[in-house]
């Protein structure tokens, strides 16, 4: 019985460690032509943690799936869009809140810290989309509203999330 409990505890730890974004919806501003959209998508596809991208050119949106168990680096995604000549206007990523542990409105995932800026102590369960509001992921006015700075490329970054 005791060993089963340990096993369950170990399993829980493993699952928590592998908590990661499930998918993301990225709206890119200024994408007015198919050549530009294709260049931007091809640039994003060079990132090793992205498994698939489905474009919705009418809404300037890329629906992005991530490889299971890969560490997602959101800052690199913003950088790739910028290198194609555009900007991320909105990034909504889906988090499995059953797999993360929230303390002080923050949780850790893939070596980065995620801070919930407008949660007000609500219980979060299951798959929920969060919007990254840092500079480089949202319009300047939104980043300013939450006082959310730009995010560096290195692990250990702090992302601000609106829910």
């Amino acid at each position: 019985m005791k060993s089963i409990k340990i096993l369950i505890a170990l399993l829980a730890v493993t699952i928590t460690a592998k908590a990661q974004f499930i998918k993301a919806e990225m709206q890119v501003s200024g994408l007015t032509c198919a050549i530009c959209a294709k260049a931007t998508e091809k640039s994003l596809r060079t990132l090793p943690f992205i498994s698939d991208i489905k474009p919705d050119l009418n809404r300037n949106v890329f629906v992005i799936s991530f490889k299971p168990n890969a560490t997602v680096n959101l800052a690199q995604m913003s950088k790739k869009v910028k290198s194609a000549g555009f900007f991320v206007n909105q990034l909504k990523a889906t988090v499995d809140f059953d797999k993360v542990k929230i303390a002080n409105n923050s949780f850790a995932m893939g070596g980065d810290t995620y801070r919930l800026v407008n949660n007000a102590g609500k219980d979060l369960n299951g798959l929920l989309p969060v919007t990254i509001v840092n500079k480089g992921f949202a319009p300047a006015s939104v980043a300013k509203k939450y006082n959310a700075p730009a995010v560096g490329n290195a692990p250990g970054s702090v992302y601000y999330l609106a829910i």
């Binding site: 007015t32 032509c33 530009c36 910028k82 000549g85």
Partner: protein
């Protein structure tokens, strides 16, 4: 008056549909994606008094998100009965200002061009795309306002002696352009494989300061984009007014451009 009417028309007709800024006769302030290569093969010419044409091979590369470069070589039969290699040019454009939101952006870039050429120079127009050796520097601003994409540029051109000792008729010129474009097809995007059809109206002008030599051309253009990578441009430019001796009045343009993304990654 006629010119104001045409400018008004250009602005109005471009408001109807989705804006496009892959201009045919001018460059927008936006750049190519970093690490992307564009290959252009182009033919331009005129039919009167005789059929003459110039071919251009141009490579374009995005160095980073703000800087792109072009390199071109030219051959024509403009100044002799047979086609001959004329010279080349290099061009760089640096985007230094961007304000973007989903349906609106404003971008400003500076650009510079240097050309070397060995043709004789009978014309008053300074043309760094095949006719003259010289330098050009200027500013281009592109505004996307919901469904309207407008782009304007102003630049200064300085001509030097062509190689083989030919002296330019004019040493200085001011060039200006105003472009607008819109997406004709598809009305609704379903994927990259869809053929896009864009139409453009562009105004191209030059004036030689202190010499009472100037012109303003209108250049309508149609553009097909296949598989989001191969671009075909067709255009014809004709003067709204013309007080300059030159080759470029009443010229057609046919261009193929192929884009390769994410090279050297």
């Amino acid at each position: 008056m006629k010119i104001q009417f045409i400018i008004g028309l250009v602005i109005c007709c471009a408001t109807v549909s989705v804006a496009q800024e892959l201009y045919v006769n001018t460059e927008p302030a936006s750049n190519m994606a970093a690490k992307s290569l564009g290959i252009r093969a182009e033919n331009q010419g005129y039919f009167s008094p005789d059929f003459k044409n110039r071919s251009t091979l141009e490579l374009m590369y995005g160095i980073n998100r703000n800087l792109m470069v072009h390199g071109s070589i030219y051959a024509s039969d403009f100044y002799q009965p047979k086609q001959k290699f004329e010279g080349g040019s290099v061009y760089a454009k640096y985007r230094f200002y961007s304000v973007d939101s989903v349906q609106r952006h404003f971008r400003v870039a500076v650009f510079a061009k240097a050309a070397a050429n060995r043709n004789p120079i009978p014309n008053q127009e300074i043309v760094l795309e095949g006719d003259n050796s010289g330098l050009q520097g200027g500013l281009v601003a592109t505004q996307l306002l919901h469904k309207l994409a407008l782009s304007g540029s102003v630049s200064y051109l300085r001509a030097f002696d062509n190689t083989d000792g030919y002296q330019p008729v004019t040493s200085n010129a001011i060039a200006y352009t105003l472009s607008s474009g819109y997406l004709l097809y598809p009305k609704t995007y379903t994927g990259y494989q869809q053929t896009n059809i864009n139409i453009y109206a562009e105004l191209i002008g030059k004036t030689n300061p202190g010499r009472k030599e100037s012109y303003l051309d209108i250049a309508p253009a149609v553009q097909f984009i296949f598989n989001s990578a191969l671009r075909v441009d067709l255009s014809y430019r004709t003067p709204l007014y013309n007080r300059m001796v030159r080759n470029t009045q009443n010229m057609y343009l046919v261009r193929l451009e192929y884009n390769l993304f994410n090279l050297f990654n």
